[in-house]
Amino acid sequence: MDLSPIWLTLKLAAITTLLLFLIGLPLAWWLSKGRSVFKIIIEALLTMPLVLPPSVLGFYLLLAFSPQQGVGKWLQEVFDIQLVFSFKGLVLASVIYSMPFMIGPIKSALQQLPSSLAQASYTLGKTQWQTFKSILLPNIKPSVLTALVLTFAHTLGEFGVVLMIGGNIPNVTRVASIAVYDSVERMDYASANAYSFILFALTFVMVVGVFIFNRYHAKSPLE
């Protein structure tokens, strides 16, 4: 039983979650302030991975990253980076794919905070950033934790995108979900079962953890 796909999946989920925390936190804050049409369109775009089949994302990434043309060619020639069939490419795909899970809970929590909180802070001469860091953020801790755990768990479940752009390379792009698919194709049901069970156990523990943690903090477990 080769455990490398499990480690690779955990590594991908950890890196994706960290990157999305850095990108998603300011984005969610920006989206939570005001409702211009522009912001609504941006938010809709970032939410698309929830409703689109992952294969659509995979297909466009395949076209975008092809070393034959456009962005892919430029990346290849200037930086010698190839995003298809590489771990970097999976990270980029996962960041797009799990974006709604990071932004959603944080944004709705920020919007539910009473506006007097921020206003009181501004009145006392604090800047926007200071206010966000020391007033708003501590007040939405449970939602941030939810966002982190959901992003991590969701990335563990990534399959369609990786199938399109991964190339099934051991230790590089052969994540656990692909290993399950691969084992079933090889009729090695014992391995398929082992990978599946590990994935199930991991994600189940995480989701239950979030639900228990949010019992007293939120009206619904996914807030």
Binding site: F65, Q82, F85, G104, G167, M187, L222, E223
Partner: protein
């Protein structure tokens, strides 16, 4: 985002359930369902049209890697005929009692090396070692017979270990062809059917691999048990062994 995430999951589950019920309802009709190895995806269209013209019977191809189709057949997938990319898969199904007759060879596949770049290929076993070739795609040798042949050719030339770090695995020959024609890989090993496929719009540079370098890709088929209730399935099975079908196979790059 309350319930949005969960809602999407539940919705996707419901859609999946509906889709499968529809698929199974369809399977109860009297079409001929043909589980088709991915390398045949272009020629099966021509065979389907020709057979329809001669018999009035419509076949319904389901295309996937041979290994995946075998797994589905093992689990009771409602197929009448199985066209594999090798002889071993159908033989295994026959031994298990899932087919009425022993496998029959219907075509021999040809392995080619090809690329969107003009690499030359005069000495492909040396060209592949060049630093300009970064990614080489072959079908997954565990589930796709063309992958086995490609691996054999690389091993016979003694360069398999040298190029291993450049290898990318397509889950079937169809994905291999996608990677070659979109140019995300530099070089790929595939079936000559890709070169002869009128649907392929990409300009490809290619060369046939010397047949001495790999075990012949003898492609076998079986009539599955479900076909005993379906006269059309037997007709199609016989048609595939006719001179008419052989002509179409030849046109698409099979022996």
């Amino acid at each position: 985002m309350s319930f949005q995430g969960l809602g999407a999951v539940v919705k996707r589950l419901l859609i999946t359930i509906v889709f499968f019920s529809v698929a199974f309802a369809n399977s109860l009709g009297q079409g001929v369902r043909v589980a088709t190895a991915a390398n045949l995806q272009s020629v099966i269209g021509a065979l389907k049209a020709d057979f329809k013209k001669r018999s009035g019977i419509a076949i319904e191809p389901i295309v996937g890697s041979s290994g995946k189709l075998v797994a589905q057949i093992n689990n009771g997938a409602p197929f009448d005929v199985f066209l594999s990319a090798d002889m071993d898969f159908p033989q295994a199904l026959y031994k298990k009692g899932l087919a009425t007759k022993a496998p029959v060879a219907y075509a021999f596949g040809k392995l080619v090396i090809c690329s969107r770049q003009n690499i030359g290929f005069a000495n492909w076993e040396r060209d592949l070692l060049a630093p300009v070739v970064k990614k080489i795609v072959i079908a997954n040798p565990d589930v796709a017979p063309y992958g086995v042949a490609a691996k054999e050719a690389l091993q016979t030339q003694g360069i398999f270990d040298d190029v291993q770090s450049k290898l990318v695995f397509g889950e079937s020959i169809a994905q291999v062809n996608t990677y070659i024609t979109t140019g995300v890989v530099d070089v790929g090993f595939t079936s000559q059917a890709l070169i002869n496929d009128p649907a392929n719009k990409a300009k490809l540079y290619w060369q046939a691999i010397d047949p001495k370098l790999y075990t012949p890709i003898e492609q076998g088929m079986i009539l599955l048990n479900r076909a005993s209730k379906n006269a059309g399935a037997l007709k199609f099975y016989n048609y595939l062994q006719s001179a008419d079908a052989k002509r179409i196979f030849a046109k698409y790059g099979y022996k």
